[in-house]
């Protein structure tokens, strides 16, 4: 008897208009004891919803309307809530996408880790703490003895993700559900976390369901893969089989998104003499009050210099905390630097946006990483995209409406979306709106801060394609900030590697990925997962 047996699962969501739509349309699959099954699909494919039903939980607005979800022979759908409470944490445990959000900011980590034991009275607290420390050790967390006494905001993202795993494993579950546990992490961290997961799962011979959109990651950890789209199973099979002889066209599409697309030199960039659009000289910036030494309380950029030529793209890579986002904010004038200067077309820009002329502001636009926070949840798409038109170009009424439609077409969004609020768009759509807003200004330079990292590989690939096209049409230059090297490779002419607020190496596109000299760059590029089940074990542990 399989550990998990999902049969003909149907889940409905009701819209605020009271309309019911079926978001899971009769999904069936099984997970055997000690086996890890991956649910693959783009966002909206329903993979998370399915994962949650394995815990007998449906998010508010959703209801399980059909089928059975059997965990070790007991149907989670049929049993009462009290019964499910008994199982949660003990039989089946959950590792969330963003551990940062899933930890209660007001409680010490250890208390949250052992809470399962407390709730279900599994063991005396002392024992639970001891076990937690073991798990910390097993998950290769630093200072396993004491790390639990910290608060969530006092540990790094990667550590949190592993602590979340410890939190899930403390109850000794038979099934662990991973909900995109590494998506939010840097590649360098991701590899460590993956390795940690894999080892503990093997040791405990626990069953797992691994939800992800990243085939390469899944390839490292899953035994079987279920490909989902629009709430239906597209294809199912052993990992190897899916990777190498996929039958279903959608699966092929997913695989295709991984073929590193070489960045072809933008049209006309060659025959024009290189002329810097943006030039940054010795930027020093940070947060908090300036100290006596003229440096801010916490320094994020130390003497950073770089230049971007017209019609070309500069990639900035590095893990979170490397200062790459700060660089974008300084260039955009959101964070006045302590020293150093920023030039646009050779003219020096004022330190803060307030001091810059409307035209300077227009010619340089910034697109933020998290489209959800970058788009005002209370304004409609048309308002968001239309505002720069009015602000910079004084377009109003029909002219503005028309232009908004053009821009929506340009970013491949149906015009019907103009009336929606951001909350009602998918991640990819949000990011496109985000982009459309920047384009509305008709800029010369676009600062892209991690714009693809929150997106599924397929969607991300599409956005990259879009960026390239737009570049050809509008003669744009991008500063492309990302920790996702494949995308950087895909679009950039030069790549700048940052580490701890400093530039450690500048590389040209053709040197990638193997031309790296600096140790950190090496590690960085080595950490990019490959579509190959053996990759994770092949990477030398020294790297991690």
């Amino acid at each position: 008897m399989p550990l998990v047996d999902v049969r003909d699962l149907k889940v409905e969501a009701r819209t605020d208009a009271g309309r019911r739509i079926e978001i899971i349309r009769g999904v069936s699959f099984t997970v055997a004891e000690g086996e890890i099954t991956a649910l693959i699909g783009e966002s909206g494919s329903g993979k998370t919803t399915i994962a949650l039903t394995l815990m007998g939980h449906a998010r508010s607005g959703c209801t399980i309307t059909g089928g059975t979800v059997e965990l070790a022979g007991r149907d989670l759908v049929a049993m009462p809530e009290s019964g499910r409470q008994q199982l949660r944490g003990t039989e089946v445990a959950y590792i969330p996408q963003s551990a940062a959000a899933a930890f209660n900011p007001a409680q010490r980590l250890i208390d949250q880790v052992v809470e399962v034991a407390r709730i279900h009275r599994l063991m005396p607290m002392a024992a639970a703490r001891a076990k937690a420390v073991e798990l910390f050790r097993a998950l290769a967390l630093p200072e396993p003895e004491t790390i639990g006494n910290r608060y969530p905001h006092q540990v790094s993202g990667g550590q949190l993700q592993r602590l979340a795993a410890a939190m899930a494993l403390i109850g000794g579950p038979r099934l662990v559900i991973f909900d995109e546990p590494t998506t939010a992490l840097d590649v360098t961290t991701q590899i460590e976390v993956l390795r940690a997961f894999k080892t503990v799962m093997k040791q405990g011979s626990m069953g797992g369901v691994y939800v992800s959109h990243d085939l390469a990651v899944v390839a490292q950890i899953a035994d079987r893969i279920v490909v989902l789209k629009g709430g239906e199973v597209q294809e199912e099979g052993p990992t190897e089989a899916i990777l190498h002889c996929a039958r279903h066209p959608y699966t092929r599409e997913l695989l295709a998104a991984f073929e590193p697309l070489r960045s072809d030199a933008p049209a006309g960039a060659a025959n024009r003499p290189p002329r810097p659009v943006v030039e940054v000289k010795d930027l020093v910036a940070g947060y908090g009050p300036l100290g006596k030494d003229g440096l801010p309380f916490s320094v994020a950029l130390r003497k950073v210099s770089c230049r971007l030529e017209r019609g070309r793209n500069l990639g900035v890579v590095g893990e979170s905390g490397s200062g790459k986002s700060t660089l974008a904010r300084v260039i955009a004038g959101l964070l006045p630097p302590a020293s150093g200067r920023v030039q646009l077309d050779g003219r020096e820009l004022a330190a803060s946006a307030r001091g810059r002329s409307k035209d300077e502001l227009r010619r340089m636009q910034i697109v933020f990483q998290l489209a959800d926070t970058a788009l005002n949840p209370a304004r409609s798409v048309a308002d968001i995209v239309g505002r720069p038109l009015t602000f910079y170009h004084g377009r109003k009424g029909r002219a503005r409406e028309a232009r908004v439609d053009e821009l929506l077409d340009m970013v491949r969004l149906p015009r019907a979306l103009r009336h929606r609020l951001p909350g009602e768009l998918s991640g990819g759509q949000k990011q496109r709106v985000n982009l459309a807003r920047a384009l509305a200004a008709e800029p010369a330079v676009v600062l892209c801060d991690e714009i693809t990292s929150a997106l599924d590989s397929v969607v991300a690939a599409a956005v990259i394609e879009l960026l390239k096209e737009l570049q050809r049409e509008l003669d744009l230059s991008y500063i492309f900030i990302s920790h996702d090297l494949s995308t950087v490779q895909a679009i950039c002419d030069e790549v700048m590697v940052m580490y701890k607020g400093e530039v450690v190496e500048n590389l040209t596109a053709d040197q990638l990925p193997d031309g790296a000299r600096h140790a950190y760059s090496k590690l960085l590029f080595a950490s990019v997962p490959k579509l190959d089940t053996g990759w994770l074990d092949s990477v030398p542990a020294t790297v991690a």
Binding site: D16, A17, G18, Q365, F368, P388, F391, A416, R420
Partner: protein
């Protein structure tokens, strides 16, 4: 995506029964406030009954007050003052409070500190003293009354709005607008306000109740409504002696106040919501 419902559905509004009922009552009182005086069977000052705290009768629908005046007529007349003044006052108070609060949050720095301290000081000056001073300084009239009420309630709504605005001020979309070079005015009205409107409205509802009640307190300082007219709170106060007899003269004004304040709050809690389908 393309399987999307037609525009009609998208721009439609969804109202629940409670909201509808509440809205109806508020509307009703608003109309009474406008046309009430014409409907009143007796002048508000006329003594029509030699008995006092008289019972409900065919002639006096809501009994008579402590002088034998017709309560029904007095409530109709009072609607104008209670609804009008309270609404005006609460709107001014919340408007100024919110604008100041958001400005303080966006500009921050010394402006914020200074304003906050000043309003703290203002809110710790007893309202009776304040009322008296105003009467003495500028005399008493309806506009003055409205302003006094507004000033008394501004600091509260300022604190509230500021707290909310500070949060939404840290969001990326505000940063984007800043990078675009937008001015403070735009940031406040277009980026922040829409996102704090909800809680602010709820707060407004509660303040409305307090103002309706404070009204009667101030009119006893000679501020505002002059006899023979009276706001509902004052009606309750002047007929309090009828309480032991459960006189309609004290019951009905209370009911009037309650019906108005409750429905205002219910209306705010159940405002019509724009329908936007999510099917992705």
């Amino acid at each position: 995506m393309l399987s999307h419902p037609p525009l009609r559905r998208r721009s439609g509004f969804q109202v629940n029964a409670v909201g509808l009922a509440a809205g109806a009552i508020v509307l009703f009182w608003a109309i009474v406030a406008l046309v009430g005086p014409d409907l009143a069977p007796h002048p508000p000052g006329e003594i029509v009954d030699f008995d006092f705290y008289g019972p409900v009768s065919a002639r006096l629908w809501m009994g008579s007050d402590y002088l034998g005046r017709d309560i029904f007529s007095r409530i109709l007349m009072g609607a104008r003052y209670t609804v009008g003044i309270s609404l005006a006052a609460v709107c001014i108070a919340c408007f100024s409070g919110i604008v100041l609060g958001m400005t303080a949050a966006v500009i921050g720095g010394w402006f914020d500190t200074l304003l906050s301290r000043f309003l703290d000081a203002l809110s710790s000056i007893p309202s009776k003293l304040f009322g008296l001073v105003v009467v003495a300084a500028v005399g008493s009239s309806i506009p003055v009354l409205v302003l006094v009420l507004a000033v008394i309630y501004t600091p509260g709504s300022y604190r509230f709005a500021r707290a909310l605005a500070v949060n939404s001020n840290t969001m990326d979309y505000v940063a984007v607008a800043r990078a675009r070079g937008e001015g403070t005015g735009y940031l406040i009205t277009q980026e922040i306000l829409p996102n704090i409107a909800g809680p602010v409205l709820a707060d407004l509802g509660l303040r409305f109740v307090f103002i309706v009640l404070l009204l009667s307190g101030l009119s006893f300082l000679g501020l505002g409504v002059q006899p023979p007219y009276a706001d509902w709170g004052s009606l309750v106060r002047e007929n309090l002696g009828g309480l032991p007899f459960a006189a309609p003269a004290v019951i009905f004004p209370c009911l009037a106040i309650a019906s108005l304040t409750i429905s205002v709050n219910l209306l705010i809690d159940n405002l019509p919501v724009r329908i936007r389908d999510r099917s992705d």
